[in-house]
Symmetry: D4
Subunit: 256 residues, 8 copies
């Protein structure tokens, strides 16, 4: 089956696929219609990643159906994010033995660990201990996507003496994910030290004028350090996804 819309359209023009085949390919094949969701079976090929299910807002039964549909199409490696312990407990019996639940990250990996094949390490750093759930979502996602991960938790800036002993580790990263709530200054300080891309994740940790992560978000967007870009509040998954892409450049793969 064609894995690329672009290629498919070309072949359609060339006549190597018929209109009927093309329509089938376009409309039917990549989607298994479960009534409530279009499960996209081409995603791995198009985007180079294992399949991910965003668990929030789906029932355990719906998640189970999606997993079954994926597995029946040969997708063995599946990540479920934003999965509460309750839903996991309901799902567990049907998941089989190779499902591992990470309670702190609120995610579940099916299909075993992945051998890291990126250019280098991804360092996941947090300002405080309360940021760890977001950090674990990022770290576990990055590992699922084939990256070596180094965790540096609770190295927040209000005490540079905590961060400075880890400068060498920061310098060893190919990408850094900097996670912090409250005033989010970690991103600026890490960004000033690092010589690699920094993906900043504001967290909703804080109270009062942190306004649910807004303060950290604005700080990170205004960082006076170059080389920092930002994802949504608490979006550990998103940070890991782009970090993994940075760590797996297309060009490098092609040359290799």
């Amino acid at each position: 089956m064609e894995h690329n819309i672009h290629t498919l359209l070309k072949k359609l023009a060339e006549g190597t696929v018929s209109v009927e085949e093309a329509e089938l390919a376009l409309k039917a094949a990549p989607f298994v219609d479960l009534g409530f969701a279009k499960v996209d079976m081409h995603r791995k090929i198009r985007q180079g990643a294992g399949e991910v299910i965003y668990g929030a807002g789906k029932t355990a039964e719906e998640i189970s159906d999606i997993i079954s549909a994926m597995q029946s199409h040969g997708q063995e490696h599946i990540l479920i994010t934003r999965l509460s312990e309750e839903k996991y407990s309901a799902l567990a019996p049907s998941l089989g033995q190779n499902a591992v639940y990470n309670a702190r990250a609120g995610l579940c990996v099916i299909g075993g660990t992945v051998r890291p094949d990126g250019l280098g390490k991804i360092v996941v750093a947090t300002g405080g201990t309360s940021d760890i759930p977001v950090a674990e979502e990022a770290a576990a996602t990055a590992e699922f996507l084939g990256n070596e991960v180094l965790r540096l938790y609770d190295v927040g800036v209000a005490g540079l003496h905590r961060l400075l002993p880890h400068v060498e580790e920061l310098m060893s990263a190919n990408v850094i994910i900097a996670i912090a709530g409250m005033e989010g200054a970690l991103a600026s300080v890490v960004g000033g030290l690092a010589d690699c891309p920094v993906i900043a994740v504001p967290t909703s940790v804080g109270y009062g004028a942190s306004f649910g992560g807004l303060s950290a978000l604005l700080s990170m967007l205004n960082s006076c350090a170059s080389g920092v870009s930002v994802v949504n509040i608490d979006n550990g998954f998103g940070a890991a996804f782009i970090a993994s892409r940075i760590n797996h450049p297309k060009m490098h793969t092609k040359k290799a």
Copy 2:
């Protein structure tokens, strides 16, 4: 004349001042009514500071009248803040020789320099060069109020190597005024290093999501470093005023 409302009321009760005298004291004396403003002649005594005129929103002529009224009541030491060069030029002829204009700070000091008599030094630190006008307002105000000031400009956190060489100077402060725009991380980093009170001043320096200083303001309020409090955006004067009070504790003076 009585310099203290509290004392005055007591004396009124004791009969050592008459109702007429008291009313005169309360209503007439401390204010010279210029029609457009009540010039407060008791302020120095009540609050322990030289007189300050907030120049924004007043015409040169109005400022000139206020100065004259003050001087005719014996007030020799006057600070005019938020004074544009245009207004200063208009004022200059009438100010006499002991008026000094600080163009970067946009303020003018009348009555010469003041001998520092505080407990220690006030360090005024900025993140970047664009924060300097606010910093100069703070530094010149602090000097006017009798403080020794050490300026540490452009030591912003996106490059800890800029800040670290100055740790010793930071440690020499009795109060630190930390001034930064953009993400305002300077306050957190300085707050984490310092062992004295830190007054943070967000500046409106920045663009886009800095929202006129809001980003720096929220950062500073959410600082994970203890020992930091915050004044209004660009309020260098206010920071210096409270820093000077911290540097001139009442108790100390009484004991001395």
Copy 3:
């Protein structure tokens, strides 16, 4: 062991500590790694305060482990803030007899009361009765940090006759902590009367357009009274921490 990064680096250069010792000192010693948090054993020395545990977002078990680690390093005097009654109940058996829980402030002090050794008194004033939990956090923290505290609760401005009888007490303060929700006018009124630094704490008390403390926060930042600076909404601890620093100036101590 070295208690000062700066000094340590100097000695490293002088050769009085070896690289290995220095690395050990920098990396290992001040932190006891509990897996989920880096407990910082040098904090008291660096910042001149007893140790503080921020209880929100930590389980009773985690708090207990941190306390044990602290105590095994000789830290006897410990403050736990944002500690709910539930967590306190779970902790109580392991805390021993010298732990005192303050339910209104939601904090627990271990190690007994501290003799006040500051320059003067810290006055903690609130606008209404609903602000008292924040005020108690401030007052109890200030006492923990070695300050004499005078509580003036429910003296809000909508009724100056409530505040005016306390002018003399306000005047006796070396630092004032002014705590108010709703429109936060207390800070301005107190700031106008006082002749010492005022730390303003907006509270989330109110409804409707108080927007969780935003109204009081903005009021306090815009206070037309000089000598006022502001901490985060509901941050009684932070206000007490900086007030205590103001009340314990480094310079004074050195001279004494």
Copy 4:
């Protein structure tokens, strides 16, 4: 001609006016159509006030046409608000001798002064000198609407000693208009002292976190003093209009 829609509809039903007359009355009479604006000639009767032209966003020529239309319908007493000096200069030749321009308030009164006929005095108080233009708009409007006005300018709360000498004057008011920018605390303090309705006007005076008057607006809405209500930022006219209505109760008039 009928001055009341309600009465007109009744008469229509009773047959004392014909459909044609009624339609004429409803559609044509109260409006003089100038193409760009429907000038409402019934307003005085319906709402008990002289006619007001909001000058902002209208050209001098348009304003002149509206005045002519009004005058040709017998309306002699006209107030033009938000009228810049430029527009006034352009208008002046055509206004005749009984037009008086108030530059500080940015308004012009045509038709001479009005004898006060309200229940009592309206006190217009401001926090600072920068609030005076808004206060003058309020005071001049109130006078135009037939009220005795007492001006208390620059009595701001950051210095209660400024406000306290005026308590007796405040107590003499039937309505108070409290005008302040920055943190707007004046409304709360005045509201706490007063025993009459207080109309609060936030002004856009301030900088930084005053956010164009938002801070004062929120303060005033959250005032812990009862008896305070609020109009739009800088809306001196609106405050005077409702204050005048309060000072001219219908019931009172009917009984008299």
Copy 5:
């Protein structure tokens, strides 16, 4: 005992009260100190209203103590607002027979009904049925304060045919309280029809972009109708308080 600070101060000066008496009068008498709240016994005299207890954030026990203190000082007529049914049930046994609870308004009146003695009627109008709890708080408060109240509920503007039949009733008011959530247009429409002061109350009724009442609040502040002023979101009590003051002008009373 003196009921007026101003008068007291005068007498203090005249010597008709001693310093000790004056101090007693000022400091002790008007406040019964319950430890957690300063109950203000002079309020009725100073502000011309019965005593009001804001029930939110106080325990039933605290409320009970305040009531007892009031009653022991002769205060018979008491209003408790923001009182949940749970708290009322806990209070009920100790309240005696003349306490009436209004569940929709969440308030309780002690001391029986009050004979209306205002100039005219207060009309309380709401846009929809969901605004009724706020309206009942306003209406019951106004009745408690001695006003005749006319309720016009569910007359919202999205259907002028609902409002128009009530124009005559609106015209009969001496003050109108216009209460609406969502877009708050009721205030403008009523303000355009009315010839008396309109106090607008935005409510938190709505969803999505109503942002908890912000949309209605802004609408009402920007009302193009003159004669409208605004209180805080859901503040039925505050609206009734100022409406009652408008309906009981001081001047009128003096003349009568």
Copy 6:
């Protein structure tokens, strides 16, 4: 009975209805006063729709009374929106057999299905699966109002390959309702493809910087595609109501 205020007023003038009849018609007839709500019996005629009850904030008993009142006036076709399952269960016994509850949409239809009589189809499209409850509210409302509805769920833009196979279906619509949370880009993409009016509905789906639907709302308002207008966050009903009006133009009906 007259179904049109305008017509009624005319007839009143013509004398074909008496004042008494007219007053009756205006005031009494169209409203059944249930004490807590004015049930409007003329709505179908005035606005061309079946009757709708907004269930949020009403008790099951109140809803039941409104239904009874409607049915006793011959209204057979009733839609209840924002009706939770709990309330529905309480209502069910009294609703009879022709009531159908749609749990995903949270609404109930009484009176059976309606034959579509609009110009064409209404397409209801969603970005993701979490937007389906809002979409079902829109779709079921549109069907209730006499429209053929085509549902296109989970065709969000982050994967144009999902949307592109449905272009032909989008092109078949007479009106499109585009429903999306998070960044709301669906409205722009659909708006760029479509050749019919697009009603965009932002949803509160998302987290962090989606701020409860604000992000999607702003996106849709700023859509660079022409032909898009927007309703309130989560307002599926409102989108369907205007879409139905577009699909049932008055002019068309008159001509047919």
Copy 7:
């Protein structure tokens, strides 16, 4: 040349166009590349409208080049919006005789008037006179797109007597565009009266808490009247565009 991407792709598959032709059609033909902008020559066919140039942010020279490119492709009927008088003056010589500039609307129509061919009338109503520029942009755009337009200006709600005489005209509309600044209540009132779709346009008219149109925007989104949807602040063009689509339903055209 093919006017429809969908059709083109089909033909590509059928072989009736070659790959080269298809590529040419897709990439080259519909765009004339002017270096700074891709002028889209297919737009009229795809979206059924004459061509529109958004003038803001383009120089007179750039606009002139775009017009020339359009005209050389046979596009005779062109609308230029957001065109200042300065730019128009610069353009005028090259525009020829059939260009008409509308100064109040800030737009220019090339190619003469268009015969209305919609289902019915579009009524453009404004709250005040200051909203007229936005209204003229809407009205002139609607006329350009082939609609009969009825202007009802200055009928704002703060004076229902202004609006009520126009009810019959409102009722004659097939679509209403309701334009208002300040509190935007016009949309709700018109929405409650109308029996056709209402497109609401908030304007930036107002001051203070109107926050540049935000207040009107929120009001309109929260309108309690059904049948109202909203476009961006000041977006008269967008309102007219969707109104024209509503007034030219595809289905109707096909049947005719």
Copy 8:
């Protein structure tokens, strides 16, 4: 001289540099103190980039001094951003022949073009023509930093037919910079198509509810497409800086 603080500290410990040398290296060498700015001469080495001067807020004279200082330290390759034409004209005489000014981007490159040495291409795409200044800042910066750049301007989503012909070019990128104002949907659409990291740049292009770029910013942060991260509004430079780092991975370089 040492180019690495870390290495320097190590050598300090080893004794291969003396304390004096180390202090000199740390404090003096990397900074040339110009009084108003600390010019950082180590930046190229530390962060792998040529030197960049942020021109906004600096006078032409200050910029000239910084350039001279850089050049005297051997820095030949210099980029000046946010440089207005006025400042450039003032600078031009002193810049010599190898300075090239890019007026659309508002930047100047000194030292000639750089040979691209990254892994692949950086594609810079914009939604409209008004986004081009920001895009040029990004593109020119990326070229300065040694990247091959492909510009795809005006391919905005409201017309997928504009974007789709460029899918192949998008697929050729190693990093994509997606720049858009208004609703910012470009980032989501590109993010859904791309298989490489996407750096999104919101621009302040738009009006009304775009709120100076806020709408686009929120959209991009909430993008439902994975692989997207965001920089500050209008921050073309920042996007290019991180994109260049992604395109020049450290690990790759080391292996090569």
